[in-house]
Amino acid sequence: MELIWDGLVQALHVLITLDPTVMEVTWLTLRVSGTATLISVLIGVPLGWLLALKQFPGRNFLVSLANFGMGLPPVVVGLWVSIFLWRSGPFGALNIIYTPYAIVIAQSVIASPIVISFTLAAIQQIHPRIRMQLKALGANQMQMLFSLVREARLGLLAAVMAGFGGVVSEVGASMMVGGNIPGQTRVLTTATVLEVNKGNFDVAIALSIILLLLAYGVTAVLTTMQQWRRES
C-alpha cells in the first residue's frame, strides 16, 4: 500500500513540477500515437467506406480480414516491421529503425484495421433509404460523402478513439521497433516497463497514471466532438 501511495505522490510531483524528462516522453507519446492514428484514419476511413458501400467478389473475405486485424498482436507487428526496417531488411536503406517513424509505422499497422472495421460498421448502419433520398435530392458524389460522414459521425469518432486507444497503450511494437531510447523513442509504455525493470516502482506508477490521464484527455476531447450536436 505504501508503494501505491509513493507512486501517487510521485505522479503528483511530476505533474506539478512538469518534470521535463517525463513531459518530453509524454509529448512524444502523444505525437507518435496521434500521428499513427491520423494515418490510420486516412487509410482506414476510405477503405472502410469502400467495403461498406461497394459490392465485389471477395468483399466478405476482406471484411473478415479487417475484423481479424483488430486483434493484431502488437508484438507480431513489431517483429515484422523490425524485419523490414533492419539494415539487412528490404527497407534498411531508409535508416528509420529505432526512430519515432518506425513506431508510427508499426502503430499505423495496428490501428488501421480497427479504424476500417469501425468505419465499415458505422457506414453500414446508416439506413439505405437515406442514401436513396440523397440521390433523389440530386446530391453529387462529394455532397453524398459529406452527408454520410455526418450521419456516421458517432461511429467514425468511435473509430478514431478505438484506434488511438489501441496504439497509445501498446508496448510490444514500440519496444521492438523503437528500442526505448531516451529522448528519441522512449514513450510512456516503454518507459514504464524500464522503470519496473529498474525496480523504481513508484516512478512506474507515476508514469502509468500520466499515461491514463493522457489517454483520457484525448478521448475526452474526441467524445466532446462526438456528442457536440446533442447539446444544441
Binding site: 533492419w86 539494415r87 519515432p100 526505448n180 528519441q184 519496473v196 525493470n197 529498474k198 457536440w228
Partner: protein, 294 residues
C-alpha cells in the same frame, strides 16, 4: 444548412491533426548536434545490466556531449546483442559473455575487442537460506545443494551473459537443469528476474550492479559470492564494417575508444559510490583479463 458549430468542430479536428503532423516533422529534424559527424547515429547493442543499473544513463550523455554522436541504445541480453552484431544491425557492442564474444571476434564480425570493466556475479536467496548454502566457497557446489534440497531457482533463460554464466556453473556442478517446478526461467532482463525471484522467494544468479540498484525492493540476500569463477567481465567491440558496409564504423570506433578512455574509466570507477556506498563496476581498460580477481 451549414451550421456554425459544425464548422468549428471540423476546424478543430483539422487543426488538431495538422499540429500533430507538424510536430512529427519537427522531431525528424531535431538530432542535429554541435559538431555533427557525417553519420551521427550510433547503434549500441548492450546488456540489460548496463541499462538497469543506470550506468548508461551517465555514460551515454557524456559520450554524446563530447563527440556529437547520437547513441541509440538497444538493451537486450548479451546473446541478442551479439546476434545484432553478427547481423550488422548494431555498430558497437558492450557485452559480458566472453566465450560467445571471442567466437564473434574469431569469425571476423567484431573488431577492436577491448576489456572495459568487471564486477561480479553472486547467488542470492532468502535470508533464512533454506538450502543452507550461505558462505559456501564454490558456486557449483552451492547450486548442487539448491537442487538436492529441492529449493526453487529462477533462471534468466534468455541467453544473456548472466544466463550463460549460470549454465556454465550448472555444468561445473555436473547438472543439466530442467525447467520444471523448482527450476524456472523468466526469459526477461535481470531487473525483472530479480523481482520475480523475490516474489517467489527463490535463489537466483545476479550481477552485483543490478542487485545493488534494486536492493531497496528486494528481500533476498547474497549467499554465495567472491569466487573467481563468478567474475563478470565486460568487453566492448566494434562491428566490422568489412563484413557489413552499412555499419557506422567511425561512430562505433568513437564509442569504443570512449569506453576505454581514462576519463570514462574514472566515471565508471565512481559510478554508484554516492548511492550505494560502493562502486558497481571496476574499470579494467588496458589490463590483462587473466589478472582480474587476483
Amino acid at each position: 444548412m451549414f451550421s456554425k458549430r459544425r464548422f468549428i468542430t471540423l476546424a478543430m479536428v483539422l487543426v488538431f491533426m495538422l499540429s500533430l503532423v507538424g510536430c512529427a516533422q519537427k522531431a525528424a529534424q531535431q538530432p542535429t548536434t554541435p559538431k555533427a559527424p557525417a553519420n551521427p547515429n550510433v547503434i549500441l547493442a548492450t546488456t540489460t545490466s548496463t541499462q538497469d543499473s543506470g550506468l548508461l544513463d551517465v555514460l551515454v550523455p557524456e559520450f554524446e556531449k563530447r563527440t556529437g554522436y547520437v547513441v541509440k541504445t538497444v538493451a537486450v541480453g548479451s546473446g541478442a546483442a551479439l546476434a545484432m552484431g553478427e547481423k550488422g544491425e548494431a555498430d558497437v557492442l558492450l557485452v559480458h559473455s566472453p566465450a560467445a564474444e571471442k567466437d564473434l571476434v574469431e569469425k571476423g564480425f567484431g573488431t577492436n575487442y577491448k576489456l572495459v570493466m568487471h564486477n561480479d556475479f553472486m547467488i542470492i536467496g532468502p535470508a533464512n537460506d533454506p538450502a543452507g548454502i550461505k558462505g559456501m566457497k564454490s558456486s557449483a557446489e552451492a547450486l548442487k545443494k539448491i537442487k538436492d534440497t529441492k529449493n526453487p531457482f529462477i533462471s534468466r533463460g534468455d541467453k544473456s551473459g548472466t544466463h550463460v554464466m549460470e549454465l556454465n556453473l550448472w555444468k561445473a556442478a555436473g547438472i543439466t537443469p530442467v525447467v520444471g517446478t523448482e527450476y524456472q526461467e523468466t526469459g526477461q532482463g535481470m531487473g525483472a528476474t530479480l523481482t520475480i525471484a523475490n516474489q517467489k522467494n527463490a535463489y537466483t544468479l545476479t550481477d552485483r550492479a543490478t542487485y545493488l540498484a534494486q536492493q531497496k525492493n528486494i528481500a533476498l540476500v547474497p549467499v554465495v559470492e567472491g569466487e573467481k569463477a563468478l567474475l563478470n567481465i565486460y568487453h566492448v567491440m566494434t562491428v566490422n564494417p568489412e563484413k557489413w558496409p552499412k555499419v557506422n564504423a567511425e561512430g562505433g570506433k568513437a564509442f569504443n575508444d570512449f569506453m576505454v578512455a581514462p576519463a570514462t574509466q574514472e566515471i565508471i570507477s565512481k559510478f554508484g559510490v554516492d548511492k550505494y556506498g560502493q562502486a558497481l563496476f571496476f574499470p579494467d581498460a588496458g589490463k590483462n583479463e587473466a589478472d582480474l580477481g587476483k
